[in-house]
């Protein structure tokens, strides 16, 4: 047991150490030219060891060092009041709310589209190309338009941002659910036919339960996409709060350390969300008699 756990942790640790080492090396090479430039103007001469330390402690580095990001992240997560607009928890919460709203709307929309596609050939032919086309438009181009158009009809705040998440998250759910609703084997559909089951009965008693594993697999993709959508949605809106606005403000004022800390916060939120979907999926499927693996 402990050996097995060790076998799992050691590769992860090795990777982590390698990444941190490469990061520090990168920090030195990215920041050194600017530091030399500064030193030359100020007429300061440094030993190479001194230069190395200086590249790790710049207030606005080109690439912040890992410990700078860690310190910034720690301070802005644990040492600030949650209501403070410097708190990363506050910003993550703002992003999370629109992520979740967009994800819920997207999932419901995706399921409805899939149900339509599976039951009506005309929808299968007419809707599917549009759904695929919708995902080829860069969300970065579309997001500002959604915000502006909705603002023109007096829709501002949470919903426009959530709709950008919806736009990204309905797609994997729709595609996954079409596959899931079509997953019952012919023999199972024949069985329903011999019972003279109605379309609705076949849906509720066969197609829907059969699609549950597909639903959770696609919801995992969808919730990550929702988070991306929420962050992207905060960029062009002039949003004052959220991880996206934190990134934008950081880039305006060259606060690279703040930006990296916000990125870390965003990644952690993503991990939490995907894990949450995974856990709920495992519980639901266990309840549905899935063989424990």
């Amino acid at each position: 047991m402990s050996e097995a756990r060790g076998n799992r942790i050691i590769p992860v640790l090795v990777m982590l150490i390698a990444i941190v080492a490469i990061w520090y090396a990168g920090t030195y090479f990215m920041n050194a030219p600017f530091q030399r430039d500064l030193d030359r103007r100020a007429g300061v001469t440094r030993s190479s060891g001194d230069l190395f330390i200086a590249t790790m402690t710049q207030p606005k580095p080109t690439l912040p060092a890992p410990h700078q990001v860690a310190t910034n992240f720690f301070e802005n997560t644990f040492l600030r009041k949650i209501t403070s607009n410097r708190s990363l928890i506050y910003h993550a919460g703002v992003t999370l709310s629109s992520t979740l709203l967009g994800f819920v709307i997207g999932t419901v929309l995706g399921i409805l589209i899939a149900v339509g596609i599976v039951h009506f050939t005309s929808l299968d032919r007419s809707l599917m190309p549009w759904i695929i086309a919708s995902q080829t438009i860069p969300i970065l181009a579309l997001a500002p338009m959604i915000i502006v158009v909705l603002a023109a009809v007096n829709l501002t705040g949470l919903l426009p941002k959530a709709l950008i998440s919806t736009y990204l998250s309905f797609f994997p759910v729709a595609v996954g659910m079409v596959k899931g609703l079509r997953s019952p084997e012919i023999i199972n559909l024949d069985l329903m036919h011999t019972y003279h089951a109605s379309k609705a009965q076949t849906f509720w008693k066969l197609r829907l339960p059969a699609s549950v594993p597909f639903l959770f697999a696609s919801m995992k993709v969808a919730i990550a996409a929702s988070l991306v959508g929420a962050i992207v949605g905060e960029l062009p809106t002039g949003a004052v709060a959220g991880i996206g606005s934190k990134l934008l403000a950081g880039s305006y004022y060259s606060q690279t350390i703040d930006m990296f800390a916000a990125l870390v916060a965003g990644s952690l939120v993503a991990v939490l969300l995907v894990t949450a979907v995974d856990v709920v999926g495992a519980i639901v499927q266990r309840r549905m008699g899935a063989r424990p693996s």
Partner: protein, 273 residues
């Protein structure tokens, strides 16, 4: 009364006919041109009979069963089930169908799987409970109500699927190679149990198989079929008693019937390459 042209009529019990097919044919349109899956099938199956359909793959035995079940539409001739069209019979839930695979729903426990047709047909909760208990007892699965299908062996799963087909008390049971995927020992056991079940419930059973001993052991009548085109080549009336212990398979009478089935298959060129 079987009405195979080359076959003299047998004076069977004067039970009402459950299935009667006349000039029945079915041609599938495939990319390689039309395929005659069934050709000129004339057959009458009476109430309470146990009829086996035997033949090599492609002989149309499964297709015939699927026509009875309204899962395929015949292109020639007529067929009636209890005097109705297959569609009407299906709408009145005249038959239970047991497939080659158990086809249990993995997210339902055994009792919920048996309850599936009962839910669809709108039985009351009390009636559902009573029927689940009764049919699971009939297939010796009492005590496994709360298990999920994967927790049961293949033979037990197939028994659960038989319970499911019996639960709504259709008089006709259609079985499409139900024990084909099981090993011989399990199969022997299930054959024995199926005969007991048939004796107790007095159902009419149509049983598709490709095993000669299985067909001879189970049936009151054996319909021998051959392929290209799928057709009936012989109908053999069993002379075995209704009470059949497993060792009846070593008796000369049993072997004689088996030999006749083999002859029928050979006459239909079923052993040709």
């Amino acid at each position: 009364m079987d009405m195979q042209a080359s076959q003299p009529s047998h004076a069977t019990v004067s039970a009402p006919s459950v299935i009667s097919a006349a000039g029945l044919g079915l041609t599938f349109q495939t990319n390689d041109g039309p395929v005659r899956a069934l050709s000129d099938v004339n057959l009458t199956i009476n109430k309470g009979e146990f009829v086996s359909f035997i033949g090599p793959s492609g002989c149309g035995k499964t297709t015939f069963l699927r026509v009875i079940a309204d899962l395929e539409q015949p292109t020639d001739g007529t067929i009636s089930i209890n005097g109705m069209s297959p569609r009407e019979a299906r709408e009145r839930r005249a038959y239970g169908y047991v497939f080659q695979a158990a086809a249990l729903y993995p997210w339902r426990t055994i009792e919920k799987n048996v309850a599936l047709p009962l839910e669809i047909m709108g039985f009351s909760d009390a009636e559902k409970r009573e029927r689940i208990a009764r049919t699971l007892a009939l297939v010796n699965l009492t005590g496994f109500e709360k298990k999920f299908p994967w927790q049961l062996s293949g033979g037990m799963q197939q028994r659960a699927s038989i319970a499911r087909a019996l639960s709504f008390d259709a008089d006709l049971l259609l079985m499409d190679e139900p024990f084909g995927a099981l090993d011989e020992i399990v199969r022997d056991h299930l054959n024995e149990q199926l005969l007991q079940l048939w004796a107790r419930t007095e159902k009419t059973i149509c049983f598709v198989t490709h095993s000669i001993p299985e067909a001879v052991y189970l049936s009151t009548r054996i319909v021998v079929m051959s392929p290209r085109p799928g057709r009936v080549t012989d109908v053999i009336e069993s002379t075995l008693p209704r009470e059949r212990p497993l060792d009846i398979r070593e008796t000369p009478e049993f072997l004689a019937i088996a030999a006749r089935v083999r002859d029928g298959l050979r006459a239909g060129h079923s052993y040709d390459d």
